[in-house]
C-alpha cells in the first residue's frame, strides 16, 4: 500500500523535457519568420504605355483643371495650381544621424560636409560619445532628413526658423484660423485646436481623455514641445486647403511632384506622403528641365 502511494506521488511531476525541446525548436523557427521591419509600398501613376514617349509634351491646358504641382528644389518647396504659384516655402535641410555606438542622434547641416574625389566625406559627423562615423558610409546612418521651415523677407535674407508647437504624437497644432501655433502659452487645457488631419478638432485637457478631448499631459505636466516647424507640415497644410477648396475640379485627386535631379529619394517620399494624406491619391512624378 505504502509503495503504491509513493509511486503515485512521483507521477505528479510532469516530464517537461520533451515540451522544452519542442519549444527550443519552435522559437528559432518563429524568430526567423518574424518580420521586425514592416514594409509597405507607395504607388505612383505612370502614364499609359502609348503615351510614354521620351520627349513628353505637356497636355493642352484645361481651364477647369487644377494642375496641382509640388516642386522640390534645393532651397524651397513650391506649389503651383491653375497656372499660378503660391509663395515659395524656403527650408533648411538637416540630416539626423543615429550613431550605432551610443544609439543617440546628432543633427548636421548637410552643407558642412566636404567630400574628397572618391565621394567620401573628409569631416564625417561626430557622435555624442566622441566617435566619428565612417566618411564613406555615413549616409547610411541618416535616420531622417528634416526640412526646417524658414521665413525669408527677400532673396538675400538668410531667413529665420519658424517655430511650431508639436503634440506628444509629433503632429503640429493648428488654431481656429488654420494657422500654426507658435507659442506654448496657447496650448493649455481647455483650448480648442486641430492637427493636420481630417476632422481633427479637439479640446485639450490635462489628465483626462475621451472623444474629442486630447490629454496633453504626462505625469501631470504638459508634454508638448516647441520646435522648428517642418516645411513638410507647411506644404501639408496648403495641400489640405487646396484639396478642400477644389474638390469639384476634374483632377481633384491628381498631383504632380517635380524635383531637381539631385533631390534625395527620401524627400520625394516625404512629399508623396503628405500629398496622399491630404487626399491626392494619383501621384505623378515629373522632372525639372535642366537649368530650370
Amino acid at each position: 500500500m505504502a509503495k503504491q502511494l509513493r509511486k503515485a506521488e512521483k507521477l505528479k511531476e510532469m516530464d517537461m523535457l520533451p515540451v522544452m525541446s519542442l519549444m527550443t525548436v519552435l522559437i528559432p523557427v518563429l524568430l526567423t519568420m518574424t518580420a521586425f521591419q514592416k514594409l509597405a509600398i507607395v504607388e505612383v501613376n505612370l502614364p499609359e504605355r502609348s503615351e510614354v514617349s521620351m520627349e513628353t509634351e505637356p497636355p493642352p491646358p484645361d481651364d477647369n483643371a487644377l494642375n496641382l504641382t509640388v516642386a522640390i528644389s534645393k532651397e524651397y518647396l513650391e506649389i503651383w495650381a491653375r497656372g499660378g504659384s503660391l509663395p515659395k516655402e524656403f527650408y533648411k535641410e538637416m540630416w539626423i544621424f543615429r550613431c550605432k555606438s551610443d544609439n543617440d542622434t546628432v543633427i548636421y547641416d548637410p552643407g558642412v560636409f566636404e567630400y574628397d574625389d572618391k565621394g567620401a566625406a573628409t569631416n564625417p559627423p561626430k557622435c555624442k560619445d566622441g566617435k566619428t562615423l565612417d566618411g564613406e558610409k555615413f549616409k547610411y546612418s541618416i535616420e531622417s532628413i528634416e526640412l526646417w521651415s524658414l521665413h525669408r523677407e527677400s532673396e538675400e535674407d538668410p531667413g529665420t526658423l519658424k517655430k511650431s508647437v508639436y503634440s506628444k504624437s509629433d503632429s503640429a497644432y493648428l488654431d481656429g484660423n488654420n494657422e500654426f501655433i507658435a507659442s506654448l502659452s496657447e496650448i493649455r487645457p481647455g483650448a480648442v485646436v486641430a492637427t493636420l488631419s481630417e476632422s481633427s478638432s479637439r479640446k485639450l485637457a490635462c489628465g483626462q481623455s475621451g472623444p474629442g478631448v486630447e490629454d496633453i499631459c504626462v505625469d501631470g505636466k504638459p508634454a508638448v514641445t516647441l520646435r522648428n516647424r517642418s516645411a513638410y507640415d507647411e506644404i501639408a497644410k496648403t495641400l489640405i486647403m487646396i484639396h478642400n477648396r477644389f474638390i469639384d475640379s476634374p483632377d481633384a485627386d491628381n498631383i504632380i511632384v517635380l524635383a531637381d535631379d539631385d533631390t534625395a529619394f527620401d524627400k520625394i517620399i516625404g512629399i508623396m506622403d503628405r500629398a496622399r494624406d491630404a487626399g491626392f491619391y494619383k501621384i505623378n512624378l515629373a522632372k525639372l528641365a535642366a537649368g530650370g
Binding site: 517537461m16 523535457l17 515540451v19 522544452m20 519549444m23 527550443t24 519552435l26 522559437i27 518563429l30 524568430l31 519568420m33 518574424t34 518580420a35 521586425f36 521591419q37 514592416k38 514594409l39 509597405a40 509600398i41 507607395v42 504607388e43 505612383v44 505612370l46 502614364p47 499609359e48 504605355r49 510614354v52 521620351m54 549616409k139 547610411y140 541618416i142 531622417s144 532628413i145 524635383a259 531637381d260 535631379d261 539631385d262 533631390t263 534625395a264 529619394f265 527620401d266 520625394i268 517620399i269 516625404g270 508623396m272 506622403d273 496622399r276 494624406d277 512624378l285 522632372k287
Partner: protein, 163 residues
Amino acid sequence: MARKARQYGEEAGLSLTSMMDVMTIILVFLIKQVDTEGQLITAAENLVLPNSTSTKVPRDVSLGLIVDHNWVLVDGQQIVETKIVSEQDSLLVEALDAVLKEKRETEKQAMLARGESDEGGGNIIVQLDKNTYYDIMYKVMATCGVSGFTNVAFAVNMLHAEE
C-alpha cells in the same frame, strides 16, 4: 552513505516550470508577430529604405527591382551599374529595358497560358536607398514604363505598423 547518494539524485532535477513560463510567453509573442499573410517583398541588404506613413502592403507578387549604390538588380541579378545610369543623358536605361521587356514577355506568355488577358500584371516594386538621387529614380521609373511594367510602386518602411 547510500542514503546520501539518493538525496543527491532527487535534488539534482532542474526546475523547468519557470523556464516553461518564459518560453510560453515568448512563444505567444512570436506567434502574434508572425504575419499570417507572409512578406511579399524582402528588403535588400545594402540599402536603407525611407520611412513613410503609407500603410499599403503589396497584394500581388511583383517583380523586384533594386537600386543600391553600385548596381541595379532585377530579381537579384546584376544588370547595370548605378554609376552608368546616373551618368547617361537619355531617360531610357537600355540594358535594364532589355531585361525588363524579356520579363514582361514571359509574364504575358504565362498569363495567356492561364487563359487570362495579357493586359493585366506589369507590377514592379522598386527598392531605392533613401539617398538615391531623383535623377536615377526617374530614369529607372521611365524605363519600367517603357518596358511594360506600368504599375510601379516604391518599397518603404512602414512608420506606424498597425496597432
